[in-house]
Structures are given as C-alpha cells and as structure tokens.
Symmetry: C2
Subunit: 676 residues, 2 copies
C-alpha cells in the first residue's frame, strides 16, 4: 500500500470503529463520524502536536470538537492514538463508561471540551486561541506557540453563536486558529440546502477569515489545506471540507447508504443499512469490528515517535527559556496551576455607600494590578457594568496586540461567555465577563456548560433588579436571581453546587464576594451587583471584617436578644431591611437581620450553624426584589416574603421603590402585619 492507501485505510478503520460503537450501543450518530474520519485521521496522525506522555503539557495544540454527537469519530481516532482501549469503545454510551454519548472534558484522554449543544464548541476554540495569544504576549513564542484546531459541522455553522465566534476571531486576527467545517449537506432532519442557502465561504471572508475549500475526504487536499492554514499568521482559517455523510455505508444488497439523512442519528442497521456489509466494504471483518489494523497501528506508532522528538525539542527550548527567564518560568507554573496569587483583600479601600457595581470596580482595579493572568470581558457595557475598573488599568485586545488584558466582546453575551469558557479550558488564564443581569438569560446555555465542566469562569452581572428603573421591564431582572440559583441547587458530578452565586449587600460584601470568586477554582461563580447606591450595612467593629462572614452564605448582620422575627434578604434589600428595622425597633420589636448572599454556601454549612442563623420554625420575614420564590429555600415554613411578582416598569427607581413596596415604611408595615 502506498501512503495514501494506508491513510485511507486508517480513515476506514475509524469509520468501522465509529459505526460499530453506535451499533453496539444501539444509539448514536454514525453518519457524520464516518464522513469526518479522513480529516481527523490526517490531523491526529500528522499535524496535532501533543505529548503522549504528558497530556496536560501547556504547550500542546488543542482540538475542540463542536458537534459532540460525532463523539464516535473522536473516541475512535483517540483510540488509534492510544488514549482509549477497544474495550472502552465498546462501552460507548453505557453507565459509568469513559465514552459517554457526548464527549465530556478529559484532557488526559485528549478530550479538550464537553460538547453537545451545537455552536459552543468552536467558540471555546476562539477563546482558547485568544488565551494562547494573551499568554504568548507575556511568556513568548518559545513556550506558547500552540495551534488551536476546531471542528464544526453544518449545525454549528447555523447556530447563532457562529456570528459572534466568526466576528471575534476575524476582528482579533486569530492566526493561531484553524477550523475544519465538515460540510456534508446533511443535518438531523433534512438536507442542509433545504434550510440554508447561505454562502459560507463568503460569510467567513466577510468576518475576515482565510477560507479554503477542499474535498474533505481527500487525504492530500486535507494535508495541503492544513499546511497552508498553518502558514497563515494574521487570520483564522476555515477549511471547508465537502464530505460524504456515512462514507462507506452499505445496504444489505450492497447498495450505497452514503449521503442519507437517515444515517445521521441512529445505528446504521436502524437506518436500513447493513453494518456487516458496511464493515466489509470498508475492509474490515464484521465478526471483529473492534480491531485496529496493523498498518494503521504502524502509522500512529510512527507519529508517536515523531511526537516524542518534537516534544523533546520543545522541552529543550522551554528549558533554555526557563533559564534565561526564571521570572517568566515561575509565572508560567503559577498561571497553569490555576491558583490565584495572594491578594491583600483587607487592604482594599472601598468608598462606603456606593453601588455594589462600583465596589466591584474597585476590586477589579486591584485585580488588574495584582493578577497578571486575568482577562476581563464585557459585552459592550464596560462603562456601565463597571468592568472598566479593570479596563482603566490595562487596555483592550486588538488585532496583532494582546498585551492588554481586556476583551471588548461587542454585543454578544453568549459568545463572550463561551470565549471565557474557552480561555479556562486552554488554561493559564483567569476569565471574567460582565453584562447586565437581565442578559444572563442569553448566557444560560454557556453557564450550564461551564457548570458541567467545573470551570471557574466569573460572571459579573450588574443592574440586578427593577432598580434599573427608567429602562423598564425588558431590562429589569425579576426571575433571574431564582433562575441562576437553580445552578446553586444543581450539583455537579463531584457532588458540589454546580455554581457559586453571590449577591452582596454592600461594597464591603462586594469585596468579600470577589474574594470568594477568586478563591473558587472548581466551579463558575456568579456575582450579582446593584446599579444603585446602597448604604453600607451597620457594623459593630469593621464592616469588611464582619462581611467576611459572607463566606458562610448567610450571617447575622445584627440582632436584639430574643428576636421576635428574623429579617432575611440578599443584595440591596438587606439595607432596606436595616432601614425598616429602625422603625420596628422604635415600636419595641426585637429583630435579627440576616444577609444571605448565597443560599448554596449557606446550605453547605453545618446544620448547627444554619440553625444558629435561621432556626427551624422561627418567624422569618424575607425581602427580595426578585420573585418571592427566590427566598423560599431560606425562610422556612413560618414566614412571609415580600417580593416582586410581576415584570417591572419604566420609572425612576425611587418611584418604583415606593410603588412596588421596597421602602423602610413598607417593611415596617409588612412585618407588623406578619407579627399581628
């Protein structure tokens, strides 16, 4: 066999494995995997640089799969690379297996990202490419010269987020990004051209990409395209590869089953094809489908040897660089450890009685100076969500210059969130992003993925309630706090709250919230800040020291002996309770005031502590600018909650406070009625 024949044999091997995995699982997506096999075979056997011994090597190329349903293709090529055994492939989609239906991030096995919801995966790649540029600008090409590969299918091209990913990658000139578009003209329910007449090449060119168009099943064209793409330094490259859905699939009568919608999302046999005829057609043995052909094994053994040589050279270069730049080498270590440098949080000076978004800006100004590997982004609201506290100490990324640390994402919230995820997946970077809280709605699909992947993205959401005021109901979050807190209740696969959600009550709690966010390296964190000014909560000694109790999720701000009622809130409503408390105390009512920035953290404390703050059965009055249900998990059964039950309204926020019952006087009345 000549070189091309052997490579085709390897791709056929991937096709056989992928189709057989789906067949055995009685569930999955064989057709696309069979069409894309040629590309991943060339990529993994000739281009992708990684260390077979040290899968977490920071200088490795990354491969991001967007269409997670093509997992059989990825698992199969990774089996050729020695990352999965044939037995593991046979456990595809079974309980407890390492080969779940959609890939779940597992760097040691070559899975750089969890995927499934289309469009997100390639946007993570954009984020990773930005992270690589950011790190290269600080550490140098010697150690940070990796290429980011992405693989996208017809569905991902259609997903709205492709607009954001395409625009950002083009605008920032991400020459380190190479994306293969597996264009097979088949999607789940129709042929692509029935629902999409767009000119994809022209669209990506409009976004500033270099675009190549090849036969995606032709080894030599794939090689040539990847080589040309690698040579491009100032533009991301899209390789449009025309491929054949179900390449090699055959019916029982040996008729072709290629190019059929039916092979997209079910076993070949369920589509009416014959798995046996297909395997035979692909040069395999239907009796032993889970086999790696010797000549294919040889290709990947050869590549392994090549990689060892490449990597040895890169490690030698890194060693020389480390010796020349011990300071940078120390930074590289620290940054990729995921840990945050020690920050003197207590030294952060907050101007009292400001909006918590202003408090956040103060902290961000400190972080910009002290956390060199932090990137902050905003979806065109930096001067309003106050991420400009960070921006003022640095500058934004522009094409050809990643010396800054701010990412102006434009008006594209979901894209921004996915890019931050991609930066975290790449490693070495701490990523945070800001927008208005109501627009967290746009980010939910990405929040969920960040939570599932246990990535420490920091979500900064300001303008946290109807007190957005004049902008009216489209801009006023109501159900959003309860919505985000569902991810606090949802546990990740480690049994931990899948997201840390913090809504601080004043600027000092805002400092503490940022402290908790930075220290939380194992889940995403949501930081929910107010638009309007909030009076600092009363403190017996030092307010910051008292606010540190926020780490317990909920704590007593102040109290009278033997309180008649406990007042509970989060965010700016705590200060409204404090104002109402003055009126109630004037009536001789004894109170305890509790600030509860995080229900999730509170429920993670000992029962004893929880009982010491909000004893079971005690009378509790809750105040929330969100839906009443926002507080229901905290207040217990002997309680009353005043919340906002409807969409908000357009008016100055102090008018809304009056109209909607968020004043000291109204708290007084409500609590009096409750106690009566």
């Amino acid at each position: 066999m000549n070189d091309i024949q052997v490579m085709n044999r390897a791709a056929d091997n991937i096709r056989i494995l992928a189709a057989s995995m789906v067949e055995k699982a009685k569930s999955g997506h064989p057709g696309g995997a069979m069409g894309g096999a040629d590309f991943v075979n060339v990529l993994f056997s000739e281009f992708l640089v990684y260390d077979p011994q040290n899968p977490k090597w920071e200088g490795r190329d990354r491969f991001f799969l967007d269409p997670g349903h093509m997992s059989p293709m990825l698992y199969s090529v990774l089996a050729l690379c020695g990352k999965y055994t044939l037995e593991e492939l046979q456990q595809f989609r079974q309980w407890g297996s390492v080969t779940p239906g959609h890939p779940e991030v597992d760097v040691c096995r070559g899975i750089e990202n969890t995927s499934g919801p289309l469009g997100q995966g390639h946007t993570y790649a954009v984020g990773a490419a930005i992270a690589a540029k950011f790190l290269q600008a600080r550490l140098g090409k010697e150690v940070m010269n990796q290429t980011i590969y992405a693989y996208i299918s017809d569905g991902g091209i259609q997903e709205e987020i492709s607009q954001g990913a395409g625009r950002v990658a083009g605008t920032l000139g991400l020459g380190n990004l190479i994306m293969f578009y597996d264009a097979n003209n088949i999607q789940l329910s129709t042929k692509v051209d029935e629902v999409d007449a767009e000119d994809v090449q022209k669209k990506y060119e409009a976004w500033g990409w270099k675009v190549l168009h090849i036969n995606g099943n032709d080894v030599q064209q794939i090689r040539a395209a990847l080589t040309e793409a690698k040579a491009e330094s100032m533009r991301p490259t899209l390789i449009i590869g025309d491929t054949l859905m179900g390449k090699g699939a055959m019916g029982p009568d040996q008729s072709s089953y290629e190019n059929k919608v039916s092979t997209h999302g079910q076993p070949l046999s369920a589509a009416g094809a014959s798995i046996a005829e297909t395997i035979k057609n692909l040069g395999g043995d239907p009796e032993h489908p889970f086999t790696i052909f010797p000549e294919v094994e040889a290709i990947y053994a050869k590549r392994r040897a090549e990689l060892e040589a490449i990597v040895a050279e890169r490690y030698a270069a890194k060693k020389a660089w480390s010796e020349a730049h011990p300071d940078l080498a120390a930074k590289l270590e620290q940054w990729f450890s995921g840990q945050v440098p020690a920050i003197d949080w207590a030294a952060i000076q907050q101007k009292p009685n400001q909006a918590t978004r202003a408090g956040s800006a103060t902290v961000l100004g400190v972080l910009a100076e002290q956390v060199e590997n932090m990137v902050v982004a905003s979806a065109d609201l930096s001067n309003s969500d106050k991420t400009d506290g960070f921006l003022k100490k640095t500058h934004a990324f522009v094409k050809g210059d990643f010396s800054g640390a701010f990412f102006q994402a434009g008006v594209a919230e979901l894209t921004m969130a996915c890019i931050c995820i991609g930066m975290c997946l790449h490693g070495g970077v701490i990523a945070a992003c800001g927008t208005f809280f109501v627009f967290s709605d746009y980010m939910k699909p990405a929040m969920r993925m960040a939570a599932l992947m246990e990535l420490p993205v920091k979500f900064i959401w300001t303008h946290d309630a109807f007190r957005v005021g004049e902008d009216g109901p489209t801009h006023e979050p109501v159900e959003q706090e309860a919505q985000v807190r569902l991810l606090e209740k949802l546990k990740n696969h480690k049994g931990k709250s899948s997201m840390l959600v913090l809504r601080p009550a004043d600027v000092e709690e805002a400092t503490v919230a940022w402290k908790l966010a930075m220290e939380n390296t194992s889940t995403p964190t949501a930081l929910i800040f107010s638009r309007q000014n909030i009076n600092n909560l009363p403190a017996d000694t030092d307010r910051y020291q008292e606010a540190l109790q926020a780490a317990k999720g909920a704590y007593i701000v102040n109290e009278d002996a033997n309180p008649d009622v406990i007042l509970v809130a989060s965010g700016s409503e705590v200060s409204t309770l404090v104002e109402g408390a003055a009126l109630l105390r004037a009536d001789g009512i004894k109170l305890r005031i509790v600030s509860a920035p995080s229900e999730g953290l509170f429920r993670a404390q000992s029962k004893e502590y929880q009982e010491s703050v909000i004893p079971t059965g005690s009378k509790v009055f809750g105040l929330t600018a969100g839906l009443p249900v926002t507080l229901e998990g905290l207040v217990g059964s002997n309680s009353k909650i005043w919340g906002l039950e409807s969409f908000g309204f357009s008016a100055p926020y102090k008018v809304l406070d009056e109209k909607l019952g968020f004043t000291a006087q109204h708290v007084y009345q409500q609590v009096k009625e409750f106690l009566a």
Copy 2:
C-alpha cells in the same frame, strides 16, 4: 424652503424632540435617535402604509424597531404622525406613562413590538415577513401585500441572532422585508470599529440579501434606496445607512458633539454637550423644545391625506375581493381575530402507552388538518420532537412557495422562537415551535419577551428529563422545568401568570395540554413532553374525560378513602407513582395520587379546590425528574421530595431509572421511610 429643506427640518424636529425627551427624563439615549431621524422621517412621511383611522388594519405595513433604546426617535416620529401628544413625550420614562424607556407593544400607537434586548426586534420582522408570505399564499395579494420594515443598529448586527435572521430571510427569499441598518460606528462603550471589523455588506450578501449602501442622513438617498428595495421581490433588502451619532449636537461653546460615544446612553447635558445650543443649532427654540414646526406638521398632514386615499383604494379592493371570495374573507376575519376554530378534541384517538411526544404528534396531525392558519416550526429536530406529526400533513416553506405550513428553522433555537413571536405580532397566524427541552435554555430571552408581550406562542419541548438517556448530561434537562415554571410564577402586566406551563402525564393529558394551549390566546404556552413511552394513567371511566381535569392544573388521578399520604408528580413521574402505589397498597397504605401538569393553573383555582386536592399540612410525597425544588411550591411543609439533584449521565434510560431512583420499588421505599 424646498422639499429637501423641509424634510431636513422634519428630521431636525425629531432630533429636537428626542434629545429633549431624554434631557427631561434625565435618562435615555439621545445620540442614536438623532442620527436615525432622517430615515424614519422619510419612511413614515413617504413610504409606510397604514390606516390613520384603523391602526389594527391587517393590511398595514409593519415597522419593527430592534434597538429599543432608540425609543425617543420612534415616539417622536409617531408624535408627528399624531400617535402621541407632546405632553406624552414629556412623560418619557415616567411611572404609568405611555412612553416607557423601551417601547412596549401598542399597535394603536404604532408600536409593533416591545424591544430592548438587541437582535430580537429585527428577527420578529423576519417572522412577520414569513407570516405575510404565508397569508398571501392563502388569501391573495389583494389583501395581503404589506411590506415589513425593520430598523437595526450596530449592536443588533453584532448579536448572535443576526446569523439566524439573516440566513432565514435570505434562504426563504423574503422580498417583502426591508431593513435599515443605522451604521453610526458608535456603540455603548466604544466605537464599532474597535470591536468589529466585519464587512456587513458582504455578510448579508452571503446570506442572500440585496444590499444597498447610502448616506443615512441624506433624504434623497434614503428615498432612492427605499424605492429600489420596494421593487425587489425575491430577496430581502438591507439598506446600510451611514449616519452621524448625535447629529446636530453641540457643546456650550458651539463645538460639534457629533460622533461621540458619550452621547449614546445619557442626556446630552450629562455628556458635556449643551441642549440649548443643540436645539438652536437644529433650528428650534430652547425655551419651547416640545414643539412641532408648522412646516413639519404640513408634511405629515399631507401624508395623512395620501394615506387616506391609499387606504380607501385598498379597502375598495378588499371589498371586491370579499365579494368574489366570501370563504376567504371569512377566513381572514377568523384568523385575525386570534381565535381558534372549534376542534373536536374528544374525537382525537391516541394510541395508549406512548411517549407524550408521540401523543403531541397525534394532536399536531389533527391541527394540521383543522387549523388552516397554524404554522409549526422545528429547529432541525422535526423527526425527533415529533413536530413531524404536523409536517407529514403539509410541507415546509421554501423560497417562492409558502403554500406549506411548516418552518424548518435549522439549528437556531433563539431565532426560531423570535420568528414565532414575529408571526404572532403580525397577526393572522398561530405559531408553534419545537426542540429538545434542554435547549429551552437558548430560547429564554425570547420566552421572556413573548411573556411580556402576552403573545400566544406555543413552545413544544420534548425529551423532558434524564430519560434522554444515552445522549448524556448535555442533553438531559434537570433544572429546566423549575426554570420555565419561574415564568408561571412571574405575572404579566395584566396580573396573570406570564406563561402557561404544562407537562402532561400521559398521551391523553397530552391531548388536553394541547387543548389548553390552543385555547390560551393571551399568554405563551410551554408544552413539555417525554421522549420515552409512558403507561396511560388508570381511569375509572374514560381516561381522556378524566384528563380534562388537567385544566385545573392538578387533580386527583385516584385515591383511597382517608389516604395516609398524597403522591404528587407531573409528567412521566406520575406513572412511576402509580406503579409504586401498587406496592404500597399491597402493604395496606392508603394513597391519593395527584397529577400536577401546571402549578400555575393550580394556584389560579379556588382555595377550596386546592385544599380538596392537596390539603394544607397533609403528608405529601413528591417525585420529579427535575430538581427537587420543581415541586416545592406544590407539596407544602409536611413533605418529602425525591428529585434529581445533579446533572444527568449517559446511559440507557432504564439503567438511569434504576441508578437514580425512579422506579416503583424506589418510590415504595421512599414513601415507607417517609411514613415511618
């Protein structure tokens, strides 16, 4: 003054009004409104066809504003049209005013859509254009020949959804859609070219649009472009208008304040400009900013007369058409009434023990035959979300042929939802759309807008729980039911649940859920269906007749006298309770089983009814495949809930049932422990 001078005077009048509104409100966005004034002036005074006497006339052209923050421009031009008084303009952004910060749909005043979250507004226009094509195919050009105009800004162009809107409009050849892109190179926090290097013209051409590029502040160029766009029949048209942010704005020293980021989102005075100098510069009197110039009044009076003539002609044509086609005329009346034809729901034959998605398909097959003005969409999952029950009785829209009633949206969930909203806003069409429940996350921003606008979009979500099985956690909804039910708790401005959410327990309840959805013409409805088969619930008489009680939100499926415990669930978990009940009853435990498809509907019943189903203080066991909190509002304080507290897993669903505790045996154990 010549014609051009008068038109410029009118645009200046709009600029003065808009800037003055923001100044008086001390809040808002003057700069964009001042830049876009020329376009809306030409459109409303020379092109837009509507009936000044009958704003709801179904044959009117529609104008959809995407950037809702440009409301001062829209209110001002509508004031020239006589839709707002100058006093109303002065109440901009105040409590109870008809001029809220972002426009809220009010057809009688010329506001066709609520807007604010960027990108959605122009996608509604795409939906309206599809509705117009759909109706034209059925009723004829004589009565359905309207043009749909959209207005988009730089932020909307960047939003991810522009990919979906652009692709769909181009693919379907929506020649009845004309969009003006107000390109002023300024967004909220930066100049556009700092964050976006894309070639917008080329991008829209790639999507199949006709694109014109003009000076957007030049009356004659605007006229010429609109005329050319009107002449195009097979492609949507994008008019890129270069405009000047803050056109005419001046500083106190009479320096120009044009083209500044600072005038985007605050009063001119707050940006350092002078409102007085600006008004003088624009030919107004700073002492009397809220004025319509006589010569401008004359233009709009002339237009009013023209419109009366145009409309008279159109009404005459409609009359002739009605006489020639009384059947069609009756349909037009009925369709635009928003009411659904009588459907013999009881006659719908469901095959028992099927998945509720299959039950939904059965109903959709009936609706396809009996509801002629219904459009069903799917985001590339029609064969899986079973909207193909509808598709099989019709065919999909294609360019040039809207005789079908199915919209293949491609993989673009948010776009699909917004297009359905746009169809509803247009009127005459009943719109439904389907995808997997986990992808409801992508649709949340649109669901919220549909809820706020009180539009009867039907959301069909299938694969409702971890029983998606092998596809794993990325495809398994857990927190989604609780999330969607937040909109059940959230009230709209009429004091009603902002969304009806139904998760039926078997195929007969699926029929009833569809009945309730079709009868609900005042809010959106969510229909949540299972992937897997479900045994029909037991019935004393006829299961469909008993399932009709679903209209009360929750009802008793069956019960023993003096039950020891009440078992509550929605969806397929009810049948799991029924299986568990057999084991419990064998132990002599007396039970009541409650199916609760809608907590919102249940809470809208009389206290008496609620107490008759789940009495306060009674022992209640809840079972949910969602987070336990999903049922917390139903079960009361003396309760135990078994739910799923974490992300799901990839495995066959029957394995997951065992592993995660969703079996009859596990219900038995849990209830026994609870009672012990």
